[in-house]
């Protein structure tokens, strides 16, 4: 696999690990951050961070080229 492709897969995996699989690590009340229980704060923080990761994937453009076969030829 090309490095850009690997990087876009990693960028996609990060939110899944942070938001889903790592739940035992962040599911607690303390410390309260910005007045929010830690688990709620963590999830809210990962909303823009997920967008950022996917923006990175978009910019890498790996998947854009692979979809329409006709465009691939012209490149």
């Amino acid at each position: 696999m090309k490095p850009a492709r690997v990087l876009s897969l990693i960028l996609t995996a990060i939110p899944f690990i942070a938001v889903c699989f790592a739940v035992p690590l962040w599911d607690r009340v303390y410390p309260l951050v910005l007045g929010l229980p830690f688990n709620l704060f963590w999830l809210m923080a990962w909303i823009p961070l997920t967008s950022l990761c996917m923006w990175g994937v978009y910019r890498l453009g790996e998947w854009r080229n692979s979809v329409p076969p006709s465009r691939e030829k012209s490149r």
Partner: protein, 487 residues
Amino acid sequence: MTPSLIALSITGFIVLIGAFIGIYAGFRRQMNLEQWAVAGRGFGLILVWLLMAGEVYTTFAFLGASGWAYSRGGPTLYIVAYLTLCYAVSFFILPKIWEVGREHRLHTQSDFFLQRYGNRYLAGLVAILGVLFIIPYLQLQLTGLGIIVQVASFDGISRSAAILIAFAIVAGFVLSSGIRAVAWVSVLKDSLMLIAAFSIGIGVPYHYFGGVRPLFRALAQTSPQHLTMPGSTASMGHSWFISTVLLTSLGFYMWPHAFGSIFSAKSGDTLRRNAVIMPLYTITLPLLFFVGFAAILIAPGLKNGDMALLTVVRSTFPPWFLGLVGGAGALTAMVPAAILILAAGTLFAKNFVRLLFLPSMSDDAVAKLAKIMVAVVTALAMYFAIYSSSTLVGLLLFGYAGVTQFFPGVVFGLFWKRVTTMGVFAGLLTGVALGMWLFFTKHDPYHGWNAGFLALCMNLVVTAIVSLVTSSKEIATHELSSAVSCR
């Protein structure tokens, strides 16, 4: 004027404006099947965003999320998690689905299965299962709309009567407009929804506690266990969270209506950019959690957690504001309900009846039958809404256990050449049967795992194994049939 009259008339006024926009947007356009179902495939980034956001912000988020924050506590956080991750999933599969859709002029999810696997019985099965699993989702919207009417009338209108009113509003709205209308009403719905979410989400904690920080400080003292998983439940711990988030984020675009909305986009790139910005929409959801959590201290002991948000609004704000929130809430039920019904009607008429029984039906006849189905599907959902006591979130999780079973068929179909019709048939039937069996025998969650997720795992395994066993035979026939269809 009595408070209930003020609240109800403002709610009613907002509903009327919504209906008016809907009728106006559909006006003067020839409503053929292509327009009615996928709006001529011309939606750019903004309209796709509106349409898809319109599908996300349903009564489920408005009343259900706050309701679970109130009654279940910590497990409700799964909603923020899955509404963030589902878009990352969509980034990779939606543009591919769209490409297939454009090339073969597809309207529905079942069309996609027919195109990919070339088997009309599989496509018919996908269609009828899709219609069946839409019913609980629709039931959720009607129940929510019923709760709004009930609370806004200060309990003057009974639950059943309120649901009956909800049914009439929704059916009328759908029959007068197609999917384009729905996207435009979303503009009104989402602006009102944002106003309501911010003013309640910030206003309620300030009014009673002097801010969000003191609210959570108070809760952390009185009921800290409620704020983490498993909250007030016995079985919704971390394994439940992980399995539920996976099930729902993978299944998000497997809903027939969400799948259908993919085809209304102008390009695959629109969908990719949409996937990047959509998570930001989820940021307002926690505001609704605040209200649900605050209600624990303000209005303890409610029998129906789904009424928590509106009950708090009613006892905190003046009647006109309750009316405004009620109107916003009513639109968040009407718009998604309309999308759901449109999808169910089209699926039933085009992909079940025409495909399996009456291949000679014209497009116009299909559109007519789809409209008749609007009444039938809505009536069924209304029947269940009146006679069921499931929570709003519970209803949606049941639906997810069903629709996510389409995931292997779609994703293997896009990315794995060796998947076979037999494999998808076997996997789908196994997944649906296991999922429904676990649900109806009250085995959800099963040993701390989401039942729908376990069914999905079985589905994936069965699809893969059966495909590997049957692939050599089928590839030969498939190549033949695709060679024939190309020329």
